[in-house]
């Protein structure tokens, strides 16, 4: 992810959130449309937390998203 990491100091949590976010976006494409709606809302919330510099909250949301993908993948 090119830009998100540039928004804040590249501390380890920011890098981790970026990495997990990228992974959720790419892997989430395999979900059914109705599950994509839930994933889209989770990732939108994570982006908002990133924008608010609340990286801990963003990390929790992205982890929730990856858990959801793991459970709902076809």
């Amino acid at each position: 992810m090119a830009g998100a990491g540039e928004q804040a100091a590249p501390d380890s949590l920011a890098v981790q959130v970026d990495s997990l976010y990228s992974r959720a976006v790419v892997e989430g494409r395999g979900l059914a449309p109705r599950d994509l709606r839930v994933l889209g809302e989770l990732l939108a919330a994570a982006r908002e937390m990133q924008a608010a510099k609340d990286l801990e909250a963003a990390a929790v949301l992205v982890q929730d998203a990856l858990d959801f993908i793991a459970e709902r993948r076809p």
């Binding site: 992810m1 090119a2 830009g3 998100a4 540039e6 928004q7 990495s19 997990l20 976010y21 990228s22 992974r23 976006v25 790419v26 892997e27 989430g28 494409r29 395999g30 979900l31 449309p33 109705r34 994509l36 709606r37 839930v38 889209g40 809302e41 989770l42 939108a44 919330a45 982006r47 908002e48 990133q50 924008a51 982890q63 929730d64 990856l66 858990d67 959801f68 993908i69 793991a70 459970e71 076809p74």
Partner: protein
């Protein structure tokens, strides 16, 4: 059925981005010209991860027809493919682009044996800068009078490069094995039994990538009457085991039914599927019920014009809801008018509406209205092109608009397969999905481009 051909072609193009391609093609498929309304085989309904190829009434034709002469064929080819996936959104008023791209070379070897026993074996080795993967498939089919046996096996392995963009993803080996017996138990009446085993094994297991095995056993009864008219009912029992976390082992029960009917020059389809899934530890994952249904028709208004109404329903009910795993109901209805502009071109246009109601905090209810259209063009086996577009607006009814506000969307897909020479082919899939929100900081644009050039036997 055209959709099967299209999906196969996309798969041939080495599309790693299967999810988006599937949804894109599926969306396109709704308005695709010439899509036979004969619904999917019940086996597809019963399994959530089936390839769905060559199912349904094929045994009838196979057993009734003559046996082709015994021959062996070898179809090698080499392909060069490029895939890219990007998502543009905004954080702190600065545009951000998330991008994944890969260039790879693919070597394909396929052996086919025709005759009383039909055998197909294919291996695809893909070498890219992101990963190396190998996909092996084998199919065996043999008829014994009123009985037909099919066996299929697939193995997929993927090893990521050391400097891959997705360095958190793990190498894996996954596969499926399937055996199916079809018995003609009466005049145009078929009984099918299938067992399907799926497994995945990761080199490095994590919270998101865990080994598992799934086994589904299904039973289906099909009655055929007329050329396109069939009734199918069936059920399945399945279970998943996760060695690292037995708490998320699950059992599931599925019931499904489908009715395809022709009424002179008109066609109707009704499909339904219900699943009940229970986990070993319901405190970790709530048991839930999942249902879906589809009713569609093709009404011949004129020899060159058809009306294609379709209604879909999806339901999810969790025993124990939380903010993410929550009840949801989704209805969609569309009314397309499809016409043959020429013997090669088909146009379709019509309105579509979607209504989602939810019980959780993360997911939000909405109403959505849109206009869909498509253009399809085919010239023999040489060229097939399809462009679809859906423009509409979504209104969220409640929930926190901080993260996601009402939006206007324009979802478009282009699919092209072109074979200018018998040994040269081009496959292209592109989708561009911009979403403009009431709050511009929520805007997103998703882009997928997948292209492949193939030299050899396709």
């Amino acid at each position: 059925m055209r959709s099967g051909v299209t999906r196969a072609s996309v798969a041939r193009a080495g599309v790693e981005l299967a999810g988006v391609v599937r949804s894109g093609v599926a969306r396109a498929g709704v308005v695709r010209a010439g899509v036979a309304l004969a619904g999917m085989a019940l086996a597809t309904l019963l399994s959530t991860a089936t390839a769905g190829a060559e199912l349904g009434s094929a045994p009838a034709a196979r057993l009734a027809g003559s046996v082709p002469p015994r021959t062996w064929s070898f179809y090698p080819n080499v392909a060069f493919a490029y895939d890219t996936f990007g998502q543009r959104y905004t954080i702190s008023d600065t545009d951000t682009l998330d991008l994944y791209e890969e260039l790879c070379a693919r070597l394909v070897a396929r052996v086919e044996r025709l005759g009383a026993t039909r055998l197909e074996v294919e291996n695809v080795l893909s070498l890219g800068q992101e990963a190396t993967r190998d996909d092996f498939r084998a199919r065996l089919r043999r008829g014994f009078g009123r009985f037909e046996l099919r066996a299929e096996g697939e193995l997929h392995s993927k090893q990521y490069a050391q400097d891959a963009d997705l360095d958190l993803a793990g190498d894996y080996l996954a596969g499926t094995a399937r055996a199916r017996g079809s018995l003609r138990v009466g005049d145009r009446l078929w009984l099918r039994v299938e067992d399907r085993l799926e497994f995945a094994s990761y080199a490095s297991r994590s919270r998101y990538e865990y080994d598992y095995q799934i086994n589904d056993l299904s039973l289906e009864l099909e009655r055929q009457y007329g050329i396109l008219s069939t009734v199918r009912v069936g059920g399945a029992a399945g279970w998943r085991t996760v060695p690292d976390s037995s708490a998320i082992d699950y059992d599931r029960w599925v019931a499904a039914g489908a009715w395809d009917a022709e009424w002179g020059s008109h066609l109707t389809v009704i499909e339904t599927r219900i699943e009940r899934r229970t986990y070993t530890d319901s405190g970790v994952r709530s048991p839930y019920s999942d249902g879906s249904g589809r009713a569609a028709a093709q009404v011949a208004l004129h020899p060159r014009m058809r009306l294609r109404p379709e209604y879909r329903l999806a339901l999810q009910r969790y025993d124990l809801q939380d903010s993410i795993y929550a009840d949801a109901t989704e209805h969609s209805i569309e009314l397309l008018v499809e016409g043959d502009a020429s013997s090669r071109a088909v146009l379709a246009l019509g309105p579509r509406a979607e209504f989602r109601r939810v019980g959780g905090d993360v997911d939000r209810p909405y109403d959505q209205w849109s206009l869909k259209g498509s253009v399809s063009f085919a010239r023999g086996r040489e060229l097939y092109l399809q462009f679809t577009d859906e423009v509409g607006k979504r209104w969220y009814l409640e929930g926190d608009p901080t993260f996601y506000s009402d939006l206007v969307f324009n979802w478009s897909t282009l699919y092209l397969t072109w074979q200018p020479h018998p040994r040269l082919g081009l496959d292209l899939f592109c989708s561009l999905d911009p979403e403009v929100h009431e709050d511009s900081t929520h805007d997103t644009t998703t882009l997928l481009l997948s292209a492949a050039v193939t030299v050899g036997w396709r």
